[in-house]
Amino acid sequence: MTYEQPPKKHVPTQKKVKRISIATVILAMYIWTFMSIDIEWKEAFNRFASNYNVVVPQLFSPNWARAGEVIEKMVETVFIAYVGSLAAAILAVPLGFLSAINMTNSRILSTIGKWVLSAVRAFPEIILAIMFVVVVGPNPFAGILAIAIGSTGMLGKLYAEVLESIDMNVVEAMQANGANKIQIMFHGIIPQVIPEFLSYAIYRFEIDVRASTILGYVGAGGIGTMIFFAYSNRNWSDMGMILLVIIVVVTLIDYGSTYIRKRIV
C-alpha cells in the first residue's frame, strides 16, 4: 500500500534568505576563529604530558601546614566582599531611585541613571581592582572599592526594577492624605521594597565573595594574593589548599545566603 507524499512546506523567501545569512555568518565566524587562533597543538600536548604529574596530584594533596594562613586570608576576602556589598547596597539606593521612572517621573533622569549603571556593569571587577590599585595603592581598600562599585551597577539596576514594579496606589493614597515626599518615601515606598532590596543585596554578597577571591591577584587584598604567590612559585599543594578553602567557604556562604533569602521573601 502506498500513500501520497505530504505537500512541501512553504517557506517565504524572506525567511529563507534570513536563515541562509545567519548560517553563513555563524560558519564564517567559526572558520575565522579556527583559522587564525594561534595554538601549537603539539607543544601544548607535550607540556600537558610533562606537567600533568607535577600539577594534578599536588592539587589533590593540599598543604595542610598552611591551612591557618589560608583560612585567615579567606576571612579577609569574605570581609572585603562584605564591606563592598554593604557599601553597594547603600550606594545603589539613590541610583535605583534615580533610574526608576515612576520615582523621578523624568525620562531623562531615569535614562541617565540606567546608562550609568550599565556602564559600571560593563567593567569586570578585576579591571576595577586594577584601576583602584593604581589610585589607592595595593591594599584591601582597593578591593573593597572595586567590589562596591562593581556591585552598585547590578544592585542599582535590580533596585530600579523592584521600584518600578511597586504598587503606586499606596503612594497615591498618601499623597491624597497630604503626606510630604519624605513621609511617602519612608512609609509608602520603603516598606514595600525592603525585603527585595535585602534579598538582592545578600545575593550580590554571594557573587562578591567569589569575585573577591581573585582581587588579590592584582594586589587588592584577600586570598588572591596567595593565589599569585602559589602560582609564581609553582607551589601546587599550596594551591590545592587555597582551592579547598575557597570551595568550602563559597559553598557554605551560598547555602547560608539561600536560606536567609528564602526566609526574607
Binding site: T2, Y3, E4, Q5, P6, P7, K9, H10
Partner: protein
Amino acid sequence: MIEFNDVSLVYPNGHQGLKDVNVTIEDGEFVVIVGLSGAGKSTFIRSINRLVTPTAGELKVGGDNILNYKSKGLRDLRTKVGMIFQSYNLVKRNSVFRNVLAGRLGHTGTVRSVFNFFSKEDKALAYESLKRVNIDEKIYSRADQLSGGQQQRVSIARVLTQKPNYILADEPVASLDPPTSHQVMKYLRRINKEDNITTIVNLHFIDMAMEYADRIIGMRSGEVVFDGPVSEVSEATFEEIYGRSIREDDLRGGAEDGEQHQ
C-alpha cells in the same frame, strides 16, 4: 487477544491498583472501561503497555506474557500498542507533522531518527494518518496553535502512524467539550471498525460509554465488578458500578451537533 489472568497490582505506597483481574479481550473489540476516578481504570489500561507493571498474575498480549519483558521486548510491545492521553501529550513547540512522525520512532533506528531521516513511506504514512482524522491542512502548524479537539485528533494520527494492533485511550475526552468529545469518539470508533484495531477506552461518562462501546467493563477499587456487552447494561448496572445513584455530571450530553470537520 489480551488476557488478564489473576492480575493484581500494588503500588509502592501500598495502594492496591488492581485486584485479581480476569478479563479476556478479543481482537477487534471496542471496549469501554467505566468507573469512578481512582477505581483502577487507568492502572488497567497502563498495565497493557507496561507503563505500570502488575505485581502478580499473568498478562498476555498476542499470546505472550508481557510481564517478563525487559527493555527491548518492552519497546517492541509498545510499538504494537498505541496510546492516547487525556491531555494529548504533544510536543507543543513542534509542528503537527513532526509530532505525528514521532509515532514512527519505535520503528526507526536511533541515529536515523535523531538526524530526522524518516523514509518516504513513513512520511507518506504520517500524511495519510492526518488525512484520516481530517487535519491534514494543519500539517505544518505548531501543535500549540490548535484547539483541544484538533490536538487530540493529531494524537490519534500519531497513534495511527505507529500502525498498532491495539489502541489504548486513557480518558481521551475528559478535557474536551461535548461536541468535540463525540467527534473524537467517532474517529476512534471508525478506526476500530475500518482497521480492526482492538480499542480500549477509559471513560467516566455513562452516555458516551453506552453510545460507542461494544462491551463495557465496570471497575471499582481495583476490581472488575461488571463485564458484559452493551445490550446487558442498564442504569442499574452503572449504579452498581459506581456504588451510588447516577448524577448529571456522569453524563456528557450533546450527542449530535457541534464542531464538524474543519
